[in-house]
Symmetry: C2
Subunit: 567 residues, 2 copies
């Protein structure tokens, strides 16, 4: 492709409103332009990379046995009413009416469409399993679009759906997709982790998020420093065991602790380590209140509370609710003498606290010498806290570290959530009607594009992995007014093209400095510079990633490039 004829509007300045590197670089290197908040045009270079990513996705989906189809963005409201999501999805689902006043959703995801499609055609276990995918534009009206195409309102997604007659078949299909995702993100040159995630209210069991490790990630991943284990921090179970300290059991004693509310304050005021303090938090769990205890240096993981009760909603009690239930303000509540209607549960670590400190349910007072098994009515000890760095990895191998991650993919066992709601059934081998068992599998294609840049850049611009680079070679005649340079550059351009390379040639009448700066920004893996030595038949080959540069006689060029690309 000739740079003079295409559209790569580079910028010298860092755009003021772009916070993260990938967003800045995509703007500066002429990959995207914003149309309106969260809505972007992908310019020719970005489109080339998207097609590369899509091709990788297609190859791995086909290998996993999935067939590509293409479903509509316009989705009649009736389908979403069947699943119930017309009412539950909220303002993120964009809605519109057609000329006849009929209501439509703009596809945010396609569970409803695919379920209706398969339900109408597949009636027998003989036609299962079935895996279908598409690569398609999705619409979600994000409250706060940000980071460029990392969190947009219109984006490109690969979404796959699988249908099964048994849960064993779902497990197999899930594993195939899981493996395909590993391949896809590896081939995209990403440093990522498959992370155990929260299956939320979807009713599914297994779910993994594929997280690209990055400081700008919005999610925290807990991973093992020695094994493959990784989980969303909310999901990581704590497998630590705690031993009671060897000391004499004291009597319970109420003490004045005026204005000492937080664990930090109490610990410092009483000169007691945080590990000896008991943190008591009142939660509203569906229609009741539960007091949750964790050790002072730990934090309550409300998802674990939610899962323990199988609850729909778990929320911190408000100040009013705390006062009404415990007759005490925040900061002084505790597990002793709690009204009978309030259940008290505690993290395992709390059981090991000897002679601890806790709130006295009276403003300005705490207890010391607390031993919960003696002094409080604990219904249950359980794993209720967030994992911390340094904790044992739940798989028993190594210690936990934290990292931030950008979610680029998600594999999910849906089970019968949609098939039951939408009556997608099949006849099993015994002629019995059964709901289909489903899985769904998403990849943020445009987000992956940005995530690759987030992990592959330097101070001069993007540094594309070869597999997804918009071009492999960038030919730069330093001075196009010099016929020798111009002719040699064009000859090489044609030669590379004929050899099957994707080549960009900077045939613009620009200064060398501008061309080199643009080239670094754009980030094509190999640059072939045709400069003054063109007359001697010598060009420079420069590797974008390492910065290595070689003067090479034209005769040896093909071999050299093959060699560099081979590495």
């Amino acid at each position: 492709m000739k740079q003079s004829m295409t559209f790569i509007p580079t910028l010298r300045e860092v755009p003021a409103d772009a916070e993260v590197k990938s967003h800045q670089l995509m703007l500066r290197a002429g990959y995207i332009r914003q149309n309106t908040s969260g809505v972007y045009s992908y310019l020719p270079l970005a489109q080339k990379v998207l097609k590369k990513i899509e091709q990788i996705v297609r190859e791995e989906m086909e290998r996993a046995g999935a067939s590509e189809l293409f479903m509509p963005a316009l989705q009649q409201s009736e389908l979403w009413q069947e699943s119930g999501r017309w009412y539950s999805y909220g303002p993120e689902l964009m809605r519109l009416k057609d000329r006849h006043g009929r209501e439509f959703a703009l596809g945010a995801t396609h569970e409803e469409v695919i379920t209706s499609l398969v339900r109408d055609e597949v009636k027998s276990y003989k036609r299962l399993p079935l895996a279908l995918y598409q690569i398609q534009t999705k619409f979600r009206d994000e409250k706060r679009p940000r980071f460029g195409v990392l969190r947009g309102r219109e984006f490109i997604m690969k979404d796959a759906y699988s249908f099964h007659d048994t849960f064993e078949s779902l497990d197999e299909g899930y594993q195939k997709m899981f493996d395909a995702y590993q391949n896809i993100f590896s081939r995209c040159g990403l440093d990522f982790r498959a992370v155990i995630a929260d299956s939320g209210a979807m009713g599914g069991k297994d779910t993994h998020e594929f997280m690209v490790l990055s400081d700008i990630g919005e999610d925290t991943i807990a991973y093992s420093d020695t094994s493959q284990y990784a989980a969303n921090i909310e999901m990581a179970p704590v497998v630590e065991t705690y031993e009671k300290s060897v000391e004499e059991i004291s009597d319970l004693e109420k003490i004045a602790t005026p204005n000492q509310k937080s664990i930090e304050e109490i610990s410092s005021y009483l000169n007691v380590p945080k590990e000896k303090c008991i943190k008591s938090i009142l939660f509203s769990v569906d229609d009741r209140f539960v007091l949750v205890l964790v050790r002072g240096d730990h934090d309550v993981n409300d998802i674990k509370v939610k899962n323990l009760y199988g609850a729909s909603v778990v929320e911190l009690a408000t100040a009013e609710e705390t006062l009404a239930n415990l007759h005490c303000v925040h900061g002084f509540i505790g597990p002793i003498n709690v009204p009978e209607n309030i259940e008290v549960i505690a993290d395992h670590a709390v059981a090991a606290i000897v002679n601890g400190i806790c709130g006295a349910n009276e403003e300005g007072y705490h207890y010391k010498g607390v031993n919960v098994e003696r002094d409080a009515n604990i219904t249950q000890f359980a794993d209720l806290r967030f994992i911390q760095e340094g904790d044992k990895s739940p798989d028993g191998e190594g210690r936990i570290k934290f990292a931030k991650g950008i979610e680029v993919g998600h594999v999910f066992k849906l089970g019968t959530r949609y098939s039951e709601a939408m009556n997608a059934t099949f006849l099993d081998e015994n002629g019995r009607t059964q709901p289909m068992i489903m899985g769904c599998y998403g990849i943020g294609v445009s987000r992956t594009l940005a995530a690759i840049i987030e992990q592959n850049h330097d101070e001069n611009g993007i540094v594309w992995p070869l597999t997804v680079a918009p071009f492999q070679l960038h030919v730069i005649p330093v001075n196009v007014k010099d016929d020798t340079q111009k002719d040699l550059a064009e000859k090489l351009y044609k030669q590379f093209y004929d050899q099957g390379y994707e080549v960009l040639i900077d045939d613009r009448k620009e200064r060398a400095g501008v061309k080199f700066a643009d080239s670094d920004l754009i980030g094509i893996p190999i640059r072939v510079t045709v400069g003054k030595k063109a007359a001697e038949g010598i060009v420079e080959v420069k590797v974008r990633k390492t910065g290595e540069a070689f003067d090479i006689p034209v005769a040896e060029l093909s071999e050299k490039i093959k060699q560099i690309l081979g590495n």
Copy 2:
């Protein structure tokens, strides 16, 4: 691809609501399913064909020097307000509001978006010309969606836009696109014509529609039986010359013609050929009335009237308007003694009528012996009629024939319609600010898919041209319970795959009759049937298009297939 694992829901019955062949076959062969009126899912086979068509489009667009990009479907209303189309587009443009109440159009076309994008980045003639294209889902809320994906509300389109500094450059860019379109539709195996079309109110000059010849087409094409000339019937100029018959000029005479209103009635009542009758039609042309005369066997082409006056709106006068202006009812109006405020114009053919017949502007009466140059006040003789079959071709070569066509592509010189409205300017060589000169170029990709089927099918199903077939080879083990057949079929499947063919294998446990019927429906060019002779190492090769079938030893199979595909 294994048929047991993919999604090809074929139907035995012709769906009741599918009127045209392509729609019927796409449903029956499992290529599409309707989601709601005018909105379809493209199932795996259709998706494969779409990808083939898209690849052809991409190759030809790149060859024409256009770069691919990808613009959003969500288009802020402000852009459409700038061009004025927010108000003029009508209910076909789908509109919605985001969570903040901001208004958006769902992209029906992208002139506004591309113009704003290029205007913000291109400031100098040095960056022109520029050609950009995308392949994207478009939304148009058709009043009457029909014929399956031929006229849908959500469809896939390739839209390209070019930007130029001079009209000569636009001409060049237009020609490149024109040539690319010829290549694209030829490569898709279509019988089509590039047809001169009406540039409408867009202000452009040249415009061609690419029409696939088909009886179900909604447009009539006038084409030469010997040359490449083709035009929309509205656009074809008439180049016939007319000679006056050699007869004595009669006197004008008013005659009673009670209830004889139509040309047919008058011609028959007076026993005069239609060619001697003068058809008089009153039109409202913008803010005035014009009486248009054509020969009795001809029809007025109102676009020619419109173009003659450079008018915005040309409509037939209503009965009330006729009565008010000519003091006479429809059926008896004529060019003699017309009030001065009404201009009378006539088609060239009328000038050659000697002693003709026309209405007398008095109910129940006509004139005979009419010679318009003597008896009427004709302002102008011009080409005002529709061309007819048998007329001379406007390019002077051959005679005109009519055909129906399905529009699959459109190339259009937009000129400065959008750049002026949206202030997309550049500095020319002399430093003067000029509006960019634009062209736009569309292809209905999903419509092309249907058009190919419309032209390529027989009574048993689709007959794909090789270039766009979803697969090249269809391997059918007749009886998968027979291990010899099953093993050989799978061996061949793998072998073909390794040779680089796209292969579908019907590994389903279905009766042979079902498999053959499905295979014919689906329409893959070559079928390799592995039946009873598998034990002898013999399979059958059948060519879908011709029906030819050969028994071939497996050893000679590769060569035979290469040979057939080579033809």
